[in-house]
Amino acid sequence: MTEPFLSIRSIRKTYGQVTAVKNVTMDVAEGEFMTFLGPSGSGKSTTLYILAGFQDPTDGDILLKGQSLLSTPSHKRNIGMVFQRYTLFPHLSVGENVAFPLRIRRASQVEIAERVKKALKLVRLEGFEERKPALMSGGQQQRVALARALIYNPPVLLMDEPLSALDKKLREEIQFEIRRIHQETGVTILYVTHDQEEALRLSDRIAVFSEGEIDQIGTGQELYANPATHFVAGFIGDSNFINAEVLSNEGGQARLSLSGGTVIDGVPVHAGKSGGKSVLLLLRPERLSLSTRPLDSGLVVTINDITFLGNNIEVTTHTGNGESLSVRLPFGHEAISSISRGDKAWLSFEPKSTHAFA
């Protein structure tokens, strides 16, 4: 087995009584774009700061190309980082900011000039050398910070929610730039965000953090189609959860009874539950179909509201015992013209496309 490029092994971090990171283990391949996705306080930023060397883990190790990083101080790790806040040096021009890592490394004037030019070209800010950071927009400042972090060719680039201070439109623009830069440079990126859309747009793989642990690591598609936990299912994509009862469970395929007496078969169930236990069933709004005619295996619901959202239509409904379910129907769906608030309708779905969580 070949040595993984970057290996995070059983990292734990406690502050007195508080555990910020419980147990984080992952391998990252060279050139991979790995995103740490999770709500605030889930330990994703702490893990990143441990990689940067600003915090020491209570337990565990980090190996880069087989060598432990922990005994190396931050300034000798040769790791690049872009921060959440704007961190350009206020007294230096853009050119001098980008040149700073090379000046510290005592590179020659000629080399510095050439590489600063190249780095600014990479982030499409050619000709901004003389500009002071205070006179630039937030997006431009983060691009300069990116150039400064990449100019010394670090093996790993850390990004701690670098776009969270920007507005939505600018954020999407710079996400595109980050993708392009990742492809052009081939640098390994560890990216922290709480925005699932950003994570899906950028990453090769996503590690979903929850309460100091990784719930699941996988591509966006894997996480969406096959969530390992209730938390991942709720965090990636839109989701409905309804209560269900496990009647039998054979090899992870369960027979469930839903409210209203509907029984479905062949639902993948997670965290191994035997019969008679209650579970939460995940139903994706876009994978439900709605019918105005009674169905044998359907779930009976009452229509609450119908909202037109452009390319699709959201129908909110509730079941007999008050659980709410939203359904996403494509524009022009035949049922739309014949339903209105308060009507009864039948929802159906492919059992294999759903998941049950204990």
């Binding site: 940067a52 931050s74 300034h75 961190t87 206020p90 890592p101 910070a145 010394y152």
Partner: protein, 266 residues
């Protein structure tokens, strides 16, 4: 706002008048001293019967005055440097550290501003006598440093408060050692605070007289001590000339500071 100047229509003439009186009260003594230093009367008569530069001639021809001015400059300069270096370190610790008794330590650092100077002077004098340092330049510097340091800690501390530590962290990840990052990034970023600290520290020492009287010896006298000592022997317009120079230098520094602050805002 309720107390908006525009809304105090009836009170405005009164407020303007009060301000003028207060300003005159503060400024007139300075103007009088300056005027008297150019007056020909040796009894400090106002208005002066005629104008002259002779007191300045006397002042500059007396090497003891020049020597005390140089002593003042030297002590103030050393105090300024020590005050900003120690002030920066102390402010950094108070700002970033998370140790027991941090707030108590901050308060302790600022006590020289609140404590009656004469109490401080007597205590220091007794201490330096015991240590055999009374009347030395070192004692003088330590005494003045004590009253200059709070100014540095406050103004550099305020500047650090407005400085995002992530910027220093960014410099460290760029390859700078922690102290290299502080010197090359943090210090320039808080330079306005350091500049203010320098001006106030210099002035705290430059025109300080109470501690100076206790720390002085016949051979070690700062300008304010020299003025004080001369004043007790005889009331001569040379004192007015020396005072005018002292004041002029102080005003010059304040103007410089104001210009610097204005330059930063543009």
């Amino acid at each position: 706002m309720l107390l908006d100047f525009e809304r105090l229509a009836g009170l405005r003439p009164f407020l303007i008048g009060l301000t003028v009186v207060v300003c005159l009260f503060l400024i007139l003594p300075i103007v009088f001293i300056a005027a008297l230093s150019f007056g020909s009367s040796q009894w400090l008569i106002f208005p002066p019967p005629s104008w002259t530069f002779k007191w300045y001639q006397t002042l500059f021809s007396d090497s003891r005055w020049l020597y005390s001015a140089l002593t003042s400059l030297k002590i103030a300069a050393i105090v300024t440097v020590l005050s900003i270096v120690l002030g920066f370190l102390a402010a950094l610790g108070l700002n970033r550290g998370s140790f027991m008794g941090r707030e108590a330590l901050r308060a302790l650092f600022l006590t020289p501003m609140i404590l009656p100077v004469v109490v401080l002077a007597v205590a220091l004098y007794a201490l330096f006598l015991q240590l055999g340092l009374a009347g030395t330049t070192i004692a003088f510097i330590v005494a003045h440093l004590l009253i200059a340091l709070p100014f540095s800690i406050i103004s550099i501390g305020n500047a650090l408060e407005g400085f995002d530590k992530s910027i220093e962290d960014a410099a460290i990840l760029c390859g700078a050692s922690p102290w290299e990052a502080r010197l090359r990034v943090t210090v320039p970023a808080v330079s306005h605070g350091i500049f203010a600290a320098a001006i106030f520290s210099f002035l705290a020492s430059w025109d300080e007289v109470v501690l100076a009287i206790f720390m002085a010896s016949p051979t070690l006298q700062t300008l304010p001590v020299k003025i004080w000592a001369t004043l007790r022997q005889d009331l001569t317009p040379v004192i007015a000339a020396a005072s005018t120079i002292l004041i002029a230098f102080t005003i010059l520094l304040m103007v410089l500071a104001a210009l610097f602050r204005k330059g930063r805002k543009v």
